[in-house]
Amino acid sequence: MPPLPRIAAALLAALPLPPVRAATADAVEFNRDIRPLLAEHCFACHGPDAANRKGKLRLDVREDAIARGALQPGRPETSELLLRLASLHADEVMPPPEANKPVSPAARALLERWIREGATYQHHWAYDPPRRAVIPAGENGVDHLLDRRLAVGGLTPAPEADRRTLIRRLHADLTGLPPSPAEVAAFVADPAPDAYARLVERLLASPHHGERLALGWLDAVRYADTIGYHSDNPRNVWPYRDWVVRSFHRNQRFDRFTLEQIAGDLLPDASDETRVASGFNRLLLSTEEGGAQPKDYESRMLADRVRAIGTAWLGQTTGCAQCHDHKFDPWTMRDFYALGAFFADVREPAIGRREEGMLVLEPAQRSRLDALLADEAAARTAYESLLPAIDAAQPAWETSAGTEPAPAAGGAAADRARKQVRAALAKAPAQRNERERTLLRDHHRGASAVGAPERAALAAASAARQAYHNSLPKSLVTVSVRPARVVRVQPRGNWMDESGEIVTAALPGFLPGPDFGGRVPDRLDLARWLVSAENPLTARAVVNRLWAQFFGLALSRHPEDLGSQGELPPQQMLLDWLAAEFMASGWDTRHVIRTIVLSRAYRRSSLADPAELAADPENRSLARQGAFRLDAELVRDRALAAGGLLSLQVGGPPVKPYQPAGYWMNLNFPPREYTPDPGEAQYRRGLYVWWQRTFLHPSLLAFDAPSREECVATRSRSNVPQQALVLLNDPTYVEAARGLALRVLAGPEGMAARLGHAWQLALQRAPAPAEQAEAERLLARHAADYRRDPAAAQALLGTGQLPVPAAADPAEVAAWTHLARVLLNLHEFITRS
C-alpha cells in the first residue's frame, strides 16, 4: 500500500469515520477507499444480511453487484449505483433520506473513479492470511517497515528519548512499577552498548512483567470477583487470575495459553493447572435473581461467550449476529449460534449460586488437607467400631430416659426433634415403625455416654477438616457434560422462540478451517483452530492489542473490530508482519514484545512541537512515541511505590483497599458491609483489588478501569475532575503521600537535598529551580500553618495505618506530606511518556 502523504495522514486521523481520502494520483484501492464507504452507506440494506436485504441487491459481492446492474466496470455513467447516489428523486435516491447517511461529493467522486478504473474488489484485509514482509537480516522488522514509510512521507522521526525517560517508559510498559532513583542513575550512567537490551531482559524476566501483561488480558476476558447481575455476589475465580500472571511470566506460548483456557479440561494432559485456566469459560455474568428464567440466561450466557471469543481472540464484533445476519461482516446467525454451541457442554447452573469451585492447592496445602482427611477417617473408624457397644446400651438408656430425652440445644427444629423422640419413646419398642426406630437409634448415638469421647473426637476432626477446607483457595473450572445442551438459532435473538433450527458446534463458515469429517467438533477443536496457521484473525488481534500497550493506540484503531467497520490499519504491513512473526515464532508473546521494545521506533521521544502535534495529533505515522495517562491500577501502584508502601507480593486472594463509606449501600441479597483489609493487603498492586462488577472501587473507576461486565479490548482514557478528587482525597493517596514525606525526612537533611530526594522518589529527576522555589513556598506556608494548628497536623497524619515516628515534628511531617501530595498529583506523575 502506498504511503499516505503527511497531511493526508493527519486529515485521516482527524476526520469523522469513514475516512474519505482526498483524491490523489494513487490508484483507488478497494479496502482502503471503497469498502469503508460501501459499509457506511450501503451494506445495512445491501450487504451480507440476507433477511434484511433490499431489492435483492448486495454490493459486498462484485458479481452480484454487476449482475444487478449496480456496477458497470469502467462505465460510471451507466452504473446504477452512481445514478442512484446522484438522483434528485426522493424515492430513487440512495441511501434513502431516512437512513441519515448522505454520501459526500468527495466520496461520490471516489466511487466514480473506482468504477472507471474497473471496480475491482479485494478480500477484506483481515480475512486474508497476514503477509510476512521480508526483513533484511539483522534489522528490526518494526523499524524496517516504519522507516520506509516515514522516508517516503518525508517525515523526520523524533530522536531517541533520554535515558531517564527510556527506563521509566520500559518500567511502565513491562512491569508497571516505577524504577528506583538508583536504577535510573545506574542506567543513565551505563556506557555499555547493550545497557538498554540488558534492561529489557531484566524487566521481561520479572514476575511483575506477568502482572503487567495480565491487566490487558483480564479486561479482554472480563475477569472479576463477582457474578455481575443483580445481587452481584462473590464467586471464587482468583486462581485463574494468578494463572494468567504466571503464564505471562513464564512466557507460555500463546497457542497453549489459548488451549488451556478454552479447553483446559479436555486436553490429553489436563491437570489442575489447566483446569484452573479453563475457568475462562466461567468468567461470564450470571444471576441469582428470583424469577430469572433458565432459558433466558442460557441464551444470555451463550451470547456472552460468543462475544468473548470475538473480542479476545478474533477481533470481531459478533453481537449483531445474535438477532440477524451481520450487516457488515460475513457473520451469519448460524455462525453465531454454532460458535456458542461449542460451549453447550460446560456444566453450570443457568441461574442461581455458582458452585464453590475446584480446590486449588499448593503441595503443602494438599498434604495438610490429606492429613486432616486421614485424621477424620481414623476418628470415624474409631467411633464406628464402637457402634455395636453404643447400640447395646440403648435399651438401658430408654428405660432410664423414660419419655424425656436429653434436652438438645435450642431452636424450633430441635424442639420438633425432641417432640418426635418423645413420641417414639412413648411407644413400646415392638410398635415403633422403621422411621421411629432409626430416630431413636440416632438420637441415642448422639447422646450416649458410651463412646462419647470418640464421638467428640470425630466431631472435632470433621470440624478441623471443614474449617481448613473453607480456608483453601478454590476456583470455578470447566467440567464437560454430555449430552450437551441443545442450541437453536433464536429468531431475532428471542429465547422464547423455539422455532429455530437446531445447530451443533461449527466454525464460522466464512473463515478457513479444518474439515472435521462429519464429527461434531468440541472446545479443543475450537481452541486449536483459533491458534492455527490458517486462522487469519487471532494473531492480528493479539499483536494489535499488544501494540497499544507500547504506543498508546492500537495499529488498527478498534482492537475489538478488525471487520469491515473497523479501521484498515495505516501501518498494515507492520501489523501483518508482527502477526506473521508472532505465529512463526511459535506464538512467542515475549518475542513480539522484545521486538517492539528493542526497536528504534519504541525508543523515540514522545515530545512533539506544536506543528508536529497538529500534523499528526494521534501519532498514526509513529514518527514519535506516545505520551498517555497510566492505567488505573498503575496509578495506584506508582503512588504506593513512591510512598514506599507498595507490596510486591505476586498473586493471592483479592484485597480491599480503603473505600468511601456506604459505597455498597445499594447492593443487596445480601446487604454487604465493606471492610478494608488491614496490614500489607492495603498496599497490594491495583491488579489485586477486589473487582466488584456493579460497584467497582471508585478510585479505579475514576481512571477508566472497566467494570468487566463485558469483554473490553481497549480502555478509554478520560481526563475528569473525579481523578483529581481521588488523587487529592482518597486515603490511599493521602497515606502514600505521608509515606513519601517520611522517606524524604529520613534521608539527607537540608532543604535542597530533601527536595532533590522527593523529586527523585516521585519522578526520578531533579527539580528545576522554579519548581524548587514553588515547593519551598508551599512547605513554608504549610509548616507555619500547622505549627499554629497542631490538632490539624495530627488529624492529617492519622489517615491510614502508617505510623509516624514519635520523635518527628508533626508540623514538619504534615508540611512535607502536602508537598508529597502535590507530587503525586502531577500530570507527569500519572503520565507515561
Binding site: P617, F669, R717, L728, E774, A793, L796, H827
Partner: protein, 475 residues
C-alpha cells in the same frame, strides 16, 4: 452518524489546535479562558436539528417495578374476576418471572381509584397529590418493556439495551447536548430508600457512560458528609490548605508543560480547578437550609433527611444550576408480597414530592423547558403471587404505567390503554425505545441520526429496530 472521536486525546488535540494553537503560551491561555470545562458546553449535535422544547430531563425511577393496577390503570373487570383463574388466552406462551409454571389467579386492584381533574381521570386514591396535578401531566397506560428481571430491565430502560456496556440515557444526552452547568457534572444520580424492607439492588452501570468518554458518566450524589466520593478534604486539610496544594499542582504542571507540550495537560489543569470548585459547589447545592419553610412543606421534607422528597427538591436545585440530566431512584417497589402493606408506603413517600416537583418547576417558570418522567423498570401481573407471604404481584413486561410532564408534553392527556384485565398494552402500545425517541425529540435531537460508532455499528440509544416519536402525546 456523529463521529465519536477515537480518543479524548485526539479530540482535545484537535480542539487545541483549531481554537488556540498548541504551545506553552497557548496552554496558559486555555487555562484562564473558558475553553475547557468539566464537560464541553457544546454537545456533539450542533446545531440541533429540531426545535428544542426542553433543555433538561428529570427522570424519576421507581425502582422495583410499581404495579400499574395500584397506581394509574383502573381495572374494574379484574376486580370482578378476583380469585378466578386467569384466562389462559391472555397468558399462553408468555414470558413470566416467578409465576412461571404456577396456577394463575386474577387479583383485584387493592385500592380504590378516584376521579381527579377536569377530565375526571381515574388514578389510585393513594396518590391524591398527583391527582391534584393530573391536568398537568400526561399519563401513559400502554407502556411496555422487553426485560422481565430487575437488572436487565433497568439496563434496558436506561441504555436501550439489555447488554452491559452501553451508555445510559443521561450520558447520551450530555454527549449530544453538552452541559450548561459550570461547576457541576451534567448528569447527576441520587438514590433514596424509604424505611422498609430489603429492596432490590441498583448497579452503578445504570448511570455508566458505556463506550462514551468517561466525562459523560453520571455522578452519584449521596446524603451524608461526603455527597460525592472523595469530595471532602482529608482530615486536617481545610479549604485554604487544599487551595494552596491545588495552586502548587497547577503551577508545577504549567512549568512542566512549558517544555513538554501535551494537550492533555491543559485539560488536567482545568480539571483540578473544577475539582476544587466542586468541593464547594456541591455541598452548597445540597444544603437545603436556605430553602424557605413553604418550599420544604410543599415537598414534605426536612433538610438532610435523605428522603425522596429531599432529592426531588435537590433535583430542582440541580436543574436551576444547569444540570442536564437528573435521575432519582426510589427503591422498594418490588411487591411480590405485601402489596397491600407496602405499596401505600411507597405512595406516601413519592406522591407529594413528585407532585411538588412539578408544581415547583411550574411556579418558577422552569416546567416549560424541563421534561419530568416518572416510571418503573417494568409493570406487574394482574395475577396474584402468593408464595412469598401475603399476596403480591409478579414482574410483568407487557403492561406498565408511567407519566410525563413538562415542555412539549400534552398536559391532562391519558395515552394508550391495556386490555380489560390490565395484562397487556393494546392501544397505542409504547416501547422503551419510543420513550427514548420522544425524549430526544423534545431535546431537539433526531434519534435516528443520533448515533456513535461502536463495535462496527452505529449504536443508538433507540436501538436497531425503528422507534417512534410519540407525537400524539406532544403538544
Amino acid at each position: 452518524m456523529i463521529p465519536l472521536n477515537q480518543s479524548d486525546l485526539t479530540r482535545r488535540a484537535f480542539l487545541g489546535r483549531s481554537a488556540q494553537g498548541v504551545g506553552g503560551v497557548a496552554l496558559a491561555t486555555l487555562l484562564h479562558g473558558p475553553a475547557l470545562r468539566a464537560a464541553p458546553a457544546r454537545g456533539a449535535v450542533h446545531p440541533l436539528p429540531l426545535p428544542q422544547r426542553v433543555r433538561r430531563v428529570i427522570w424519576l425511577t421507581m425502582a422495583g417495578g410499581p404495579s400499574q393496577l395500584e397506581t394509574f390503570d383502573p381495572k374494574p373487570r379484574l376486580a370482578a374476576m378476583h380469585g378466578e383463574p386467569m384466562p389462559e388466552s391472555f397468558t399462553r406462551g408468555q414470558q413470566l418471572a416467578q409465576l412461571q409454571g404456577q396456577k394463575l389467579f386474577c387479583h383485584a386492584p387493592q385500592f380504590p381509584f378516584k376521579r381527579f381533574g377536569r377530565n375526571g381521570t381515574e388514578i389510585c386514591s393513594l396518590f391524591p397529590h398527583l391527582g391534584a396535578i393530573v391536568d398537568d401531566i400526561c399519563l401513559v397506560r400502554s407502556m411496555t418493556t422487553e426485560a422481565i428481571n430487575h437488572d436487565p430491565a433497568h439496563m434496558f430502560m436506561n441504555t436501550g439495551s439489555q447488554i452491559a456496556g452501553r451508555p445510559s440515557m443521561g450520558a447520551w444526552v450530555n454527549y449530544g447536548l453538552g452541559s450548561e452547568a459550570e461547576d457541576l457534572p451534567g448528569f447527576v444520580v441520587m438514590i433514596s430508600t424509604g424505611p422498609g424492607r430489603s429492596p432490590q439492588p441498583v448497579a452503578s452501570r445504570q448511570w455508566s457512560s458505556g463506550f462514551l468518554p468517561g466525562r459523560f458518566q453520571g455522578v452519584q450524589f449521596h446524603g451524608g458528609a461526603e455527597p460525592v466520593h472523595y469530595l471532602a478534604n482529608p482530615p486536617g486539610v481545610d479549604r485554604s490548605r487544599q487551595a494552596a496544594d491545588v495552586g502548587a499542582i497547577n503551577a508545577l504542571n504549567r512549568l512542566h508543560g512549558a517544555h513538554a507540550p501535551d494537550p492533555e495537560l491543559a485539560t488536567r489543569i482545568a480539571q483540578y480547578e473544577l475539582a476544587f470548585r466542586l468541593q464547594a459547589s456541591v455541598p452548597d447545592l445540597l444544603d437545603l437550609r436556605g430553602e424557605d419553610a413553604r418550599t420544604l412543606a410543599l415537598y414534605g421534607c426536612m433538610p438532610g433527611d435523605g428522603s425522596f422528597a429531599a432529592n426531588c427538591l435537590l433535583a430542582r436545585r440541580l436543574a436551576e444550576r444547569g444540570v442536564r440530566f437528573i435521575q432519582l431512584y426510589h427503591r422498594d417497589w418490588d411487591h411480590h408480597s405485601q402489596l397491600r402493606e407496602e405499596l401505600p408506603l411507597r405512595a406516601r413517600e413519592t406522591d407529594q414530592a413528585s407532585a411538588a416537583l412539578v408544581r415547583d418547576l411550574r411556579q418558577r417558570g422552569m416546567l416549560d423547558d424541563t421534561l419530568v418522567v416518572w416510571t418503573g423498570e417494568f409493570g406487574r401481573t394482574p395475577m396474584a403471587q402468593g408464595d412469598k407471604g401475603t399476596t403480591g404481584r409478579d414482574h410483568h413486561n407487557r403492561a406498565m404505567s408511567m407519566w410525563l410532564a413538562g415542555g412539549g408534553v400534552r398536559p391532562g392527556l391519558v395515552y394508550g390503554a391495556t386490555d380489560e384485565l390490565g395484562y397487556a398494552a393494546v392501544d397505542r402500545v409504547c416501547t422503551v425505545h419510543d420513550l427514548h425517541a420522544t425524549m430526544l425529540h423534545l431535546l431537539g435531537v433526531r434519534h435516528e441520526a443520533f448515533s456513535v460508532r461502536f463495535q462496527g455499528l452505529d449504536a443508538r440509544l433507540t436501538g436497531v429496530e425503528p422507534a417512534r416519536v410519540l407525537h400524539d402525546l406532544l403538544s
